[in-house]
Amino acid sequence: MFQKMIDKSMAKSPWIFHVNAGSCNGCDIELVSVLTPRYDAERLGFRLTGTPRQADIVVVSGPITSQTRDRLVRTLAQVPEPKVVVSLGSCPRSGNVFKGSYCVDGPLEKYTHVDVSVGGCTPKPEAIVAALAKAAEILAEKRKEMRQA
């Protein structure tokens, strides 16, 4: 019974850790705006944490520059299971306008499995909220899989 309660609350309390992998700050600002009164992601239980140790959802923005690559990989490894990775904006998916630059080591798929991807430069806050909600569902499923495994 206790496990079921845990399963249920998994989707209700996803905590976000945000990694900026060389982003232009556009997506970062939009992510913060998601927590403002207008969109209020907290009503779904979202909360920004300061440490990957307590995160459930890792939001990555930016084209993965060579400077941030190792740091990103390390941080991703430090998130406890189950975890969901969300790529925010076009940059982590394709490199966007930075594609082909000598210092861009994207896309994010090279380093980790991306569960949810939000397109746009920058994505609308509505889209981000939707993606996070989707990520929360995936999180609950992952938890179930983990328990059954």
């Binding site: 190792d70 990103l72 390390r74 490894a77 495994a149």
Partner: protein, 657 residues
């Protein structure tokens, strides 16, 4: 009591001096015999003192032993006496246990030093002199023992004379300590000039009837002298210098035993000898034992205690050296003891005695852990050490017990005695209606928090955090060093869990012995002697504890701890992926188990001890920089502070008496 038991006190002292003598004779050739001699001496004196517990502490008898059988002639004490009542025995117990622990520890701790025969000779002499001091019934004998004690302590402080600052610390201790001894000697001369006797019992009988300001001035000198031996403000820089550089086993002796001698001297003087002194000037010393009244002497002693405890605890924030920090805390705790002793109530005195005992236990433990760290790593620098808890888990656990005790966290003994201290202070405040004692109470509580803070600092910078790569090869110290520490740690817990038993068996007899001047006099000079000087006979008042701290409540906590653990276990039991950290640290580290460092690769990074509590120190920066300059480290300055203390005590005498 059997007849032969009358010889036990003197035997307990002599066996230690004899041990010193024999050890120096045979020790040069054979280390094993030397150690055996010292061990036998220590154990014998331990057993002798322990065997006196039943008749003296539990049955309330008093042993008076006249050396060479020079008994009083015509009601006049002409011989030198040992007088062992419950108070003396209480301190003697502290001394012998501390000596035993320290001695056993040094067998293993000093294994890398040479010319150990000198060490053990001095060590035995130090033990013997301290024991002699607390058992003595004669003021001049006390002075001689103080001098031997100071001497051997100075020599032992300088024992590792290649160690940075060892000679310097010893020199300062010697110079300023001699000022304190001189003060005692002047006090003795003044008393002798008036009373023509130096026997404590006889003095206690005759002083009240003798109407002279000279004896009060003598009290001032003796108080400053004994205070300097307890390292009270402004003598505290000495302690810091001496503790920090002495071997850890000697630091234990200095903080746990030598300071107690000063405390003992003050208690003996203020409570027994000067108890009934009533100079024609406004109840000057009268009623040190009267709880319903507060007088100038009480304010003075309490004030000195509060200043000592507060200044020393703040000074500890500035320290980078593990043992120097402990030294300041040591004096801070002695400040607690003196504070409550000054209250002059039965509760206050027993709180003071309890804290004095606990101080020896937990401070000894902490100094020994510091010694273990020094032995294992060769360093005491708080900014350099770190992460040793993984290398020395046993020492770390012992340190945490000691730190919790000194910070007064329940259920350790520090809490039990501090609790009594607050109670005594506020009770005094309530009875006298004086706001001064409220301030005392608040200061004591705040000092307790600050103590906690600086031990958090030590824990974080020595045992936790990240391991300095320099100390990667550190190994746990040997079992022989850990066993003495465990003895002290267990004492910490036991006296913390059963304070009512300690109260019943140790504190109550010692407290009533200290207040029972008539009984003390009669035991030495014969029945009826006190009455002939119209010393009021002692009314055994029940030491009124306004509700004792009951550790039963802690059993409740233990129950809830267990339950909480069960809950956690229940939650975690079904977890399919219980995480175990990698134990194999040689393989390339999996980043998952590295410290989170904002994504950076984990490098050695430790918050330096002195950088902790920046927010607190920033607000007090003027105070701290003033204090830093004030503890200048120049021996002339420290002498000046000592001389000023004597001068202030005299001036106060002149003004108020």
């Amino acid at each position: 009591m059997y007849d032969f038991m009358y010889h036990f006190p003197v035997l307990a002292i002599m066996v230690l001096f004899l041990g010193a003598f024999i050890a120096s004779l045979v020790g040069r050739r054979n280390a094993v015999i030397r150690n055996a001699v010292v061990l036998i001496a220590m154990v014998t004196s331990l057993v002798l003192i322990l065997s006196l517990v039943k008749p003296i502490l539990l049955e309330g008898q008093t042993i008076t032993y006249w050396l060479s059988n020079w008994e009083p002639v015509g009601d006049w004490a002409i011989g030198i006496s040992l007088e062992v009542d419950a108070l003396s025995l209480f301190f003697a117990l502290i001394v012998v246990v501390a000596v035993f622990v320290s001695g056993v520890y040094s067998f293993f701790y000093m294994d890398r030093d040479d010319s150990l025969v000198n060490y053990y000779t001095l060590f035995s002499m130090l033990s013997g002199s301290v024991l002699g001091l607390v058992l003595s019934g004669d003021l001049f004998n006390m002075f001689v023992m103080i001098e031997i004690m100071t001497f051997t302590a100075v020599a032992l402080t300088a024992f590792r004379n290649t160690y940075e600052g060892a000679l310097e610390g010893a020199f300062k201790y010697l110079v300023v300590g001699s000022l304190g001894s001189t003060s005692v000697l002047i006090g003795i001369a003044l008393i002798y000039s008036q009373m023509h006797t130096l026997n404590l019992a006889q003095l206690a009988a005759m002083l009240p009837g003798y109407d002279s300001p000279v004896t009060i001035i003598a009290f001032a000198f003796l108080f400053v002298g004994f205070g300097s031996k307890a390292f009270l403000f402004p003598f505290h820089p000495l302690a810091a210098d001496a503790h920090a550089v002495a071997p850890a086993s000697i630091s234990l002796m200095i903080s746990g035993v030598l300071t107690k001698c000063g405390v003992y001297g003050i208690i003996r003087l203020a409570y027994t000898v000067y108890q009934n002194v009533d100079v024609n000037v406004m109840n000057a010393l009268k009623s040190v034992c009267n709880p319903m009244n507060a007088n100038f002497v009480q304010y003075f002693i309490t004030g000195v205690g509060v200043v000592t405890m507060f200044i020393c605890v703040t000074m500890a924030f500035n320290q980078h050296n593990f043992k120097r920090l402990l030294a300041f805390h040591s004096i801070s705790q002695v400040g607690y003891v003196i504070t409550v002793i000054g209250l002059g109530s039965a509760l206050g005195l027993s709180a003071g005695l309890f804290h004095a005992m606990n101080h020896t236990i937990f401070k000894g433990l902490l100094f020994l852990t510091a010694g273990a760290v020094q032995h294992a790593t060769g360093s005491l620098d708080l900014d350099e050490l770190g992460g040793l808890s993984k290398k020395m888990p046993g020492t770390c656990a012992l340190f945490l017990i000691g730190a919790a005790s000194i910070s007064g966290l329940p259920p350790f003994n520090g809490f039990a005695s501090k609790w009594m201290i607050y109670q005594a202070a506020f009770q005094k405040a309530g009875e006298t209606g004086n706001f001064f004692f409220v301030v005392v109470c608040v200061a004591a509580l705040i000092t307790s928090v600050l103590t906690l803070a600086s031990f958090i600092k030590v824990a974080q910078s020595v045992f936790f955090g990240q391991l300095n790569p320099k100390f990667a090869k550190t190994r746990e110290v040997s079992l022989g060093m850990r066993i003495p520490m465990w003895i002290l740690a267990i004492l910490c817990v036991v006296t913390g869990l059963f304070p009512d038993k300690v109260q019943q068996w140790l504190l109550a007899p010692a407290t009533s012995a200290a207040m029972n001047a008539a009984g003390y006099i009669d035991a030495a000079m014969g029945q009826g002697y006190a009455a002939s000087f119209s010393i009021p006979s002692f009314q055994p008042q029940s030491i009124f504890l306004s509700g004792a701290w009951q550790p039963v409540m802690w059993l409740l906590l233990l129950v809830s701890v267990t339950l909480a653990v069960c809950i956690v276990a229940l939650l975690g039991s079904d977890d399919k992926a219980p995480a175990i950290s990698e134990t194999n640290t040689d393989t390339p580290a999996d980043p998952k188990y590295e410290s989170f460092f904002s994504g950076e690769a984990s490098v050695y990074s430790q918050v330096g001890g002195s950088d902790l509590f920046w927010g607190f120190k920033h607000n007090w920066r003027h105070y701290f920089s003033f204090m830093h300059n004030w503890h200048s480290g120049v021996v002339n300055d420290y002498t000046l502070y000592g001389a000023a203390a004597i001068a202030v005590a005299l001036v106060l005498c002149v003004i108020f008496l």
